[in-house]
Symmetry: D3
Subunit: 245 residues, 6 copies
């Protein structure tokens, strides 16, 4: 199967790290096609950057994701644009944050997210609530360093991640830690070795769900919508006659 790994940030370095990790997770017969957002924030760290990424994700899917792709993993923890992407793509789409949170909720009663960037605290709390997981989310613990900084200098962030996880466990009652964001690739094993509860990321469950769902067609909402000043690919995607439903 061909799996589009769609990074809603514009950082190519982050996409490269994600692709490397994804290839280690995916089945041998899964081809990972990494794609980077063509505009927006290098690292999403505010609600404004998040809203822009919703557009960038659709644009990147329109540009790269329509031909012979079996499923999409939106590899940007927080899942900007995911609802719209699911609506228009016609193939299964999974978000790294949604998949991570749902997998965590299936494994334990209460879990915490540890991630980078202060703005993500309320944003992820609201997002988990919108998924029906308000009761199961013990806390979101944010590091000062954002995802880009953590990914670029992982050793420097390790101790802060550990301290945040320990607080989530002892103060918030977390029974599992979800490491949020592309920058956390490579942090699972060192952290898991030091703490007493399971540690997961969102990439693994998203890829597993995508592999399981690949091949099924989903109804897509597309209509003859007039647009202007979008990329040609996106304009074509959202303005074309619907394939179904």
């Amino acid at each position: 199967m061909r799996l589009l790994l769609l990074n809603g940030n514009t950082s190519q370095a982050m996409t490269d790290r994600l692709a490397l990790a994804a290839r280690g997770i995916a089945r041998p017969d899964t081809e990972i096609i990494p794609v980077t957002g063509r505009f927006g924030a290098e690292v999403i760290a505010s609600r404004a950057a998040y809203a822009i990424a919703g557009h960038a994700v659709l644009d990147a899917f329109a540009a790269y994701g329509q031909d012979k792709i079996d499923a999409v993993v939106l590899a940007c923890f927080g899942d900007p644009g995911l609802a719209a992407l699911k609506d228009v793509a016609g193939i299964p789409c999974f978000g790294m944050a949604e998949a991570g949170c749902r997998a965590a909720a299936a494994q334990v009663r209460r879990f915490s997210i540890v991630t980078g960037g202060a703005a993500w605290g309320p944003m992820l709390t609201e997002y988990a609530a919108s998924l029906g997981l308000a009761e199961q989310l013990a806390s979101v613990r944010v590091l000062e360093a954002d995802g880009g900084q953590i990914g670029a200098r992982p050793e420097a962030a390790r101790e802060a991640i550990y301290q945040a996880a320990v607080k989530a466990i002892t103060e918030d009652g977390a029974e599992l830690i979800v490491l949020g964001g592309a920058g956390m690739v490579g942090q699972i094993e060192p952290l898991a070795a030091r703490i007493s509860v399971p540690v997961i990321d969102g990439l693994t469950p998203a890829i597993r769900m995508a592999e399981a769902a690949a091949g099924s067609r989903q109804s897509a909402w597309r209509g003859p919508i007039a647009t202007s000043n979008l990329s040609a690919e996106l304009s074509a995607l959202i303005g074309q006659p619907s394939t179904s439903s």
Copy 2:
């Protein structure tokens, strides 16, 4: 006061209709500054178009809305990008759908929305729920014609609007009708003359709230975020040092 009237659709005709209506609603000392989205759908009619408009709204605010503006009314029923706009603007921002629904909820126990475009049914139902109004929203009744078509040929839509309102009242228990969307400008009076419950739009309460709030500064979340391929104005807006908090 100077009030930015921000249309997240790209239709200039719709902006013109909105501006005309807004000037009839606003206080004499309120200057209406109408702005149209610079890219995206002419009339938002899908989740994808809605997500793109979230970006377009920020872009238009960045381009036109920063200098000597006292408040913003996001004049696109459904309020794309509103949470991000509130976060970054530094001045009070109100959405036409949010203001209309909250005003309706303050006036009666249960209200319905009548609007154009099939995709808006579930989208507005979810949006009202996110505002805490799930119990008070009796129904969303959608016309086949979208907001652009209604606005362009209002007489043709009048009977369909009436029929939808009657169903909302008699079948769904609505005690008030909110007419949703820029296309509905001019439909309130004819409809109110024919039905037994109050009829409101979202523009009036949004402008009233904006006039009341104008002048207060709100904290804005802005940080040194690296971006690429955004308009220069938007890049400057979301990447600049925060003015507060």
Copy 3:
């Protein structure tokens, strides 16, 4: 338009302060008709006084509010009797607390109420939840002085209001302060000058909503109910045949 400003407390001094403030807020063509409850607590400061005010509000409306009135503002923060008033009045009715909370919720994500009188803490928390605003209400901060005392000696209360607002912002995460109660008239400007977030009261949004809604008729539930020992006006009001629905 003629706007009934209905104070559910029995304090004439409070009504006078409210009427003065209302005339400063209302449009030039809005006539403010102030009315005071004819029985009950001088200043509502307990659940019992609140329940009694529900009757007093209906009684005052029946006595003064039926002739050529276009809308009602219930000017008693907490809105005693509002649901019943909306049901029976036949014209639009808005409560100061409901309007203030809904306007706050439209402007920011999380707001706090600062008001006087210890009993109002749980009462307003429950009331906001009944409006669907539990998630958006950051806190209710109550002063020891009640609304009557604050209104009578505003300078004495100023520092306590400021301290409560600061705690709401820094400890509870409030992004806006709603000053609750007639006693707070005149406290907005001094407070707004000292803190970093918007400060509103409930009177302004209630009047704005009432002005916008004035003229629409709402269905009223009235029936041939036998009553005894009520004021003649109230007995007539609730026992008369319904005008509609």
Copy 4:
């Protein structure tokens, strides 16, 4: 023990029927002291009448309920003024609707209320939701005849009650029927003989709870509140220094 049976309606005939029924339910050592509201609707059948009854209930308690009373049963299905009564009484108070709904919820998964008076449909639905029972309330089925008419001519109402109960069972999934209101006294046995699910009223569980709770003192919120034009007893009750808390 001495149990105050407080009818918030002003109908003496209804109080008499309630007292008769209560004496048949109560333990031999329980003395029933029946009290009738001194003002308001003969039979509560609208939101306005309900709000007035909130005052009348407090007034009647103040007049009759303070001396050597061990507990109160508010014998008016819908429980007007109950929250305020609990707050101020200093002794345990139970409402017929609350006790009936909570007992029903303890016995089966889903129950329906059958009662008289059209206005009670939405009022009781909202009330059950405020008790946390929205999921368990299958429906409220209202008869056209109100509680007073049912009580005065019980045989005439019997078939309508039966039909409503059957619809609640077969269409709404009710596993138990709560007969709501003083008018329903005497209807349980005939109905129970004809249908397949349990039938209860609210009076029995309210009296049982009151008998169990009698003797415990509850904290009361009373303060030095200035009042006017209330009955002397009520004025004294709500204005006196608190006995505790």
Copy 5:
């Protein structure tokens, strides 16, 4: 009437204490038939023991509870197997925890549970939420000693119970204390003498509700289900043709 008092724990001593207490609570004409679980934990103190007790409760009902029994009280605070028991029994069944919590919720706005055994903290919090009482449960305060230890040495536990109740009142806002568990029999009076709010257990309201409901038949879900390795009585009970609906 004949009331089956079903202890889901396997401790005969606990059953004896419960039966003694129940006979003091019940009406003279109520015959208490005490039954003890035939397998499982002596004192339920974990989720696993709780799940096993769900089976043991059904087994004990099948063995002892079908002949001439009018109602069941499940006398194990936490109510293991109650939903299944209600479904299959054909007669009214009440749980000690459910009845206690619902009675508490009818008496005051917010209550706390004080019980023994650390695992019960989250278990009872979740259980109260499933009953719709999340808002009214102020807290669950657990003692280190479990229910068996408290019952065996009541004087030793008294001070710890008192301290927990005081914290529930002063720190959590409890207006009433529910003593949870068979081990608490005998603790109500000493505790009530020392604190300012009402103290109840679950046994009294459960017996009262059972006495009121006795005699009504409830629909039971039974079908021709093939089973193996259950007690003969249980196998017969759940595999027999349904008596109704």
Copy 6:
């Protein structure tokens, strides 16, 4: 890895079908160890049978699941005993219903479950709500045939499954169908070929989640609990000193 496939029903034929399906889903390096409940219903089809299975699941885990097992899949749609199993197992445990519903919720906005056995309708609706998925569950559509009958004669059930799925899509708005239960193995492909939305089961996501989680240790709640008349293995499991937390 070694994966315990735990069937809470007592039907060996069902276990055989599940094991066959599981081996087709699992990775080559995953060893499937199938286990069947040692007592209870052949096919769970009532709340009583479900409660018994909660015990049987723990018993079977205690008997077979402790040595060198890396994770558990509870392969009985509805997940009896899952919360207790997670609490005591010390290794990751996933339920077929929970995993299926969470995976469905990650893929589409609204999904329906199609399964066999009338009692499962309300039971699965309540279960999905307890997972936070009430809003996303469009419906549970039950066939008259139960899971055992469907599994034994799959061709006979095929048309009924198709009809139920079509109704879920067209009447309930389902965007994805979850086939519930071991009996549904083999029904996905024929159904997916005939309908327009994705079709999934619970076994695949449960196995994927288990493979991802295998190897992590979870805290287990075990204590020195005295038990009687349980299997020796279960008695040892739940009574042993806790390995952690």
